[in-house]
């Protein structure tokens, strides 16, 4: 279940005009200058997958995820997942998950265009073992933290996943 398309609108450094990219299986490399928005792309993916921690999305409050241009009132990110093997319990070859957040900090979730509760979305994604945090998502600076871990922290980390 890989990501086929990512659509970002009004999320962090992305303006209100929709931006959409198609992705393939294989190695995708994202480059560009400091402050360009590369890590924000990763934040957008985690946001759409249901991330609840403002800290993990590098903001103080969730409402700060909205592009700080006064004209922008919401942020919306949608991810189209490949479902050709029907790992997700939805009968379509592609499944689109979307999330929108408004200035009041409230989030709305969508599955193939239909509004759903966050719980329903997470349940569907969990069938493919997909969650917004996990060892498969490695934020900037986390390698240095692992490198600096002491012996007992290392043991605790392995304890937590066993």
């Amino acid at each position: 279940v890989f990501i086929k398309r990512l659509t970002i609108q009004g999320f962090k450094s992305f303006g209100p005009r929709k931006i959409s990219i198609a992705l393939e299986k294989g190695l995708m490399v994202i480059t560009g200058p400091n402050g360009g928005g590369k890590s924000n792309v990763m934040d957008a993916i985690r946001f759409a997958l249901g991330e609840l921690s403002a800290h993990n999305l590098r903001v103080g409050r969730m409402a700060e995820l909205i592009h700080d241009n006064p004209g922008t009132n919401y942020a919306r990110v949608s991810i189209t997942l490949d479902n050709s093997e029907r790992v997700l319990p939805i009968n379509s070859p592609e499944v689109t998950v979307a999330r929108r957040i408004d200035r009041n900090g409230e989030s709305t979730y969508f599955l193939n265009g239909r509004q759903v509760s966050r719980n329903e979305l997470l349940t569907v994604l969990s069938m493919a073992n997909i969650k917004p945090s996990g060892f498969n998502i490695v934020p900037q600076g986390s390698v240095i933290e692992i490198a600096e871990m002491g012996g007992s922290e290392l043991r605790k980390m392995i304890e937590d996943i066993s």
């Binding site: 279940v1 890989f2 990501i3 962090k12 450094s13 992305f14 303006g15 005009r17 931006i19 990219i21 992705l23 393939e24 299986k25 294989g26 190695l27 995708m28 490399v29 994202i30 480059t31 560009g32 200058p33 402050g35 360009g36 928005g37 590369k38 890590s39 924000n40 792309v41 990763m42 993916i45 592009h67 241009n69 493919a128 073992n129 997909i130 996990g134 060892f135 498969n136 998502i137 490695v138 934020p139 900037q140 600076g141 986390s142 390698v143 240095i144 692992i146 490198a147 600096e148 002491g150 012996g151 007992s152 922290e153 290392l154 043991r155 980390m157 392995i158 304890e159 996943i161 066993s162």
Partner: protein, 155 residues
């Protein structure tokens, strides 16, 4: 609980040895401080880089620590395989050699799974199946598809 921990530990330790050797050509081991009572001690990481003697990770250089941390991360990922991976600048402290080995490893892993890598290293961009640039114009982020010649030219 001890048995579950030891099973997990063994899997991670074995994967760590493989990934560390793959990335550095050297040997790396995870060791329990107290094998009989794991929870009363920590986990030591011992590294033997090519041409050097075995030392604790604490004695390694900044870049050496970072490549060992990547090997550990990949070993931990092996416990619960995923269909896509996102890595944000994990090669920041790596020299050209380690960056190249990491890029080659990702290229290989990407035959089976989707790997999204954020990186400022040209050698990683060269290995990409798909390459995009994210930059700021007029206070807004834009995304462009890139051809490698453009990256090298701008670089």
């Amino acid at each position: 609980k001890k048995r579950v921990f030891l099973e997990t530990f063994d899997k991670v330790a074995e994967a760590f040895e493989i990934f560390f050797n793959r990335l550095t050509g050297g040997q790396g081991w995870l060791r329990l401080e107290n094998p009989n009572d794991p929870f009363s001690g920590g986990v030591e990481m011992v590294l033997r880089f090519p041409g050097k003697s075995a030392r604790s990770v604490r004695a390694a250089s900044g870049g050496e620590k970072s490549v060992a941390a990547v090997a550990l991360l990949l070993a931990l990922q092996g416990l619960t395989p995923a269909d896509f991976y996102i890595f944000d600048e994990i090669d920041a402290h790596m020299d050209l050699q380690y960056s190249r080995r990491l890029a080659e490893l990702f290229k290989e892993m990407a035959e089976k799974t989707q790997i999204i890598v954020i990186s400022l290293k040209d050698i990683m961009a060269e290995k990409a199946d798909q390459l995009i640039g994210v930059y700021n114009r007029g206070g807004e982020s834009r995304i462009v598809k890139l051809k490698l010649e453009e990256v090298i030219k701008a670089g």
